[in-house]
């Protein structure tokens, strides 16, 4: 396995190569997560795997952050509102250098820094504790208003899933953000369309989702992007730069990413059973080589 660090990615001039490197980091994070979930016998695979690419893009090519200064008041904020994808956040933070990767295997252990759901006081780099769904947009709005009032002008990114958007509070936050129009608040929808109990359109249909945000006075990206294609993710943030006039125009902004729950392991993809089922030996034996093969394919592109 190839070791690539953030400095190499930042220094890479060839955009295609840079994006391939980020895709590689995302796939490596998936592999880390799968191994942790198998070893610990607890945690959520589906929503972690679907969030990997957008999350890694943020940490390697978007957020203004320094892992050595996780509490820097000018840093950009990231809220994983779908907190059950905690393992992907932990793997990404470890990959980005916030803490030693060995720590990942203490996930959900007593006395571990890595709580079942993200805890901002336990884990360096976690900007907000989440777990109960539906908090992220409101908290992110507060952060974005603080950014603006203090003139520190940091950005706040909130990743939500369908479950978050089922919650009433999300719509209170969406309505309030429409009113206060913060300049640097961005909601990223990890739209994998599968919930714990089954397909999202059967549990609680969200469509027409983009229209809903637009009706609440949000600036909505012109299309849904592919949450597993780095070129498409890159394009979505180019849209954001343009739409926000690099932070000068009023937000809030929403980008919807089409994604697959359990992405990377075919037999687990888009199956609600893999929302939070423990990864047993049999399934791990099938899944690990597949993720490794995916990683090797990406490595060849770097």
């Amino acid at each position: 396995m190839k070791e690539i660090d953030a400095n190499q990615i930042a220094a890479e001039k060839d955009l295609n190569k840079k994006l391939a490197m980020i895709a590689y980091k995302a796939q490596a994070a998936r592999l880390d997560v799968l191994r942790v979930l198998h070893e610990k016998g607890t945690g959520h695979w589906g929503g972690a795997a679907s969030a990997a690419d957008v999350m890694n893009y943020l940490y390697y090519n978007r957020l203004n952050i320094d892992p050595k200064k996780p509490a820097d008041e000018n840093r950009d904020r990231f809220i994983l509102s779908k907190g059950h994808a905690s393992t992907m956040l932990y793997a990404t933070l470890a990959g980005r250098g916030y803490f030693d990767k060995k720590k990942l295997m203490t996930f959900r252990d007593i006395d571990s820094d890595l709580q079942g759901h993200p805890c901002m006081h336990a884990t360096p780099g976690v900007d907000m504790s989440t777990g109960a769904l539906g908090h992220g947009i409101s908290v992110g709005l507060g952060m974005a208003l603080a950014s603006q009032h203090s003139k520190r002008n940091f950005w706040t990114y909130v990743m939500v899933g369908e479950g978050c958007l089922d919650e009433g509070e999300s719509w209170e936050g969406i309505m309030a953000a429409g009113k206060f129009a913060p300049k640097r608040l961005v909601v990223l929808v990890d739209y994998n369309k599968v919930q714990l109990d089954g397909p999202a359109d059967k549990i609680m249909p969200l469509e027409p989702l983009a229209d809903k945000f637009a009706a609440f006075n949000w600036t909505v990206a012109p299309k849904a992007y592919d949450g597993h294609d780095m070129q498409s993710i890159q394009e979505s943030f180019e849209w954001l730069d343009e739409a926000s006039n690099n932070g000068e125009a009023a937000g809030p902004y929403v980008i919807i990413f089409n994604s697959s729950k359990g992405k990377g392991v075919k037999h687990m993809e888009n199956d609600h059973k893999w929302h939070g089922a423990p990864v047993d030996d049999k399934n791990f034996a099938k899944a690990e080589p597949e993720l490794e093969a995916g990683l090797a394919e990406l490595e060849a592109k770097i």
Binding site: C119, H121, S129, S138, V139, G142, L145, H149, A176
Partner: protein, 333 residues
């Protein structure tokens, strides 16, 4: 309340704290004015209200500092979390609406975001107890203290008069974590002007003796009633120590235990369901160290009805007469 009572002035046995009903203020007015004052010296102070800023008086802060005031509409859950976001970035927000809605519509946000992350947000619960009397059961906050004090990292304050509202706000600004302050709608006698300030974790000893027939622990609006009742009991030869519990969490267990030890009898008085409120908090504090008979005056686990505030308080057994009666009964046991 009889009109004759309005001019009556009572002096307690040994602290000189008096009840003068002519000298009164509504907690919400004191709160609104003091927020504006604090705004001058605390640039980190932000105020959020959920479309009741005219009632809670946070609108006055909004008039003075429009750039630090957010009216978020009738969406309490969102208000709590927006304040949380502000608090993570150096601000010290005050969130304000009726206490019943904060405690019940913002519960998840208060527990999982404010308390879990220990964020400095002042939760100003307006119209506490049955003070929004005419609006009836839907607007009566009788479980807020039980809910708030069950959350780790939370400080719970229930001032006994307008002066203590100012004290509580000043204390809360010094705390790097969530603080719930219970306020009231209506005019209530000013008891503690010029006195020692309310202190987090400390009971106020209003009447103290070497030997006593019982102890009374009171919190919130009924404090002035307990001051009068203590005086009446004294006149009838019953010596009651009187402690005011404005800091419900942390509670002054030491003071409560020391007082309860003298007689082994404690009467608690609160404007809250006796299940889980101040009486429960006192019982938890005392019973670990001191064998003690405890009686509790408060709302007896029932939904309340509409009506004039004073009459409603009397109907639900919170009055000077009720305190005197229950104190005598307890003293005789």
């Amino acid at each position: 309340m009889k009109s004759a009572d309005r001019t009556q002035t009572a002096n307690t046995a040994n602290t000189g704290i008096t009840v003068n009903k002519e000298h009164a203020a509504a907690m919400r007015d004191v709160f609104g004015k003091h927020l504006v004052e604090m705004g001058k010296t605390h640039p980190e102070l932000m105020v959020l209200d959920a479309d009741v800023s005219g009632s809670t008086r946070t609108g006055w802060f909004g008039d003075a500092y429009p750039e630090r005031f957010y009216n978020v509409g009738v969406a309490e859950a969102n208000m709590v979390d927006v304040a949380a976001g502000l608090a993570t970035a150096g601000y010290h927000p005050v969130i304000s609406t009726f206490s019943i809605f904060l405690a019940l519509k913002g519960t998840d946000q208060i527990r999982n975001v404010l308390c879990y992350n220990c964020l400095p947000v002042i939760i100003a619960g307006g119209y506490g107890g049955i003070s929004d009397s005419f609006d009836g059961a839907s607007h009566h906050a009788l479980t807020d203290l039980a809910i708030m004090r069950a959350f780790p990292n939370m400080t719970v304050l229930s001032p006994g008069d307008g002066q203590e509202v100012k004290d509580a706000l000043e204390e809360a600004m010094k705390i790097n974590g969530p603080v719930y302050i219970r306020l009231s709608r209506n005019e209530t006698p000013l008891l503690f002007e010029g006195r020692e300030s309310l202190k987090v974790g400390k009971a106020r000893k209003i009447a103290e003796y070497d030997e006593a027939d019982l102890s009374i622990a009171v919190s919130g609006i009924p404090t002035y009633m307990a001051v009068e009742a203590q005086q009446q009991l004294k006149a009838e030869g019953i010596t009651a120590e009187l402690l005011e519990i404005s800091s419900i969490k942390p509670i002054d267990a030491e003071a409560l235990q020391a007082s309860a030890k003298k007689s082994g009898k404690l009467l608690t008085v609160e404007e809250h369901n006796i299940r889980g409120g101040v009486g429960s908090a006192c019982a938890e504090a005392v019973s670990r160290e001191v064998p003690c008979l405890i009686d509790m005056i408060g709302i007896e686990d029932t939904f309340t009805e509409s009506g004039p505030y004073d009459k409603l308080m009397t109907k639900y057994g919170i009055s000077v007469d009720a305190i005197v009666k229950r104190a005598k009964k307890l003293a005789e046991k």
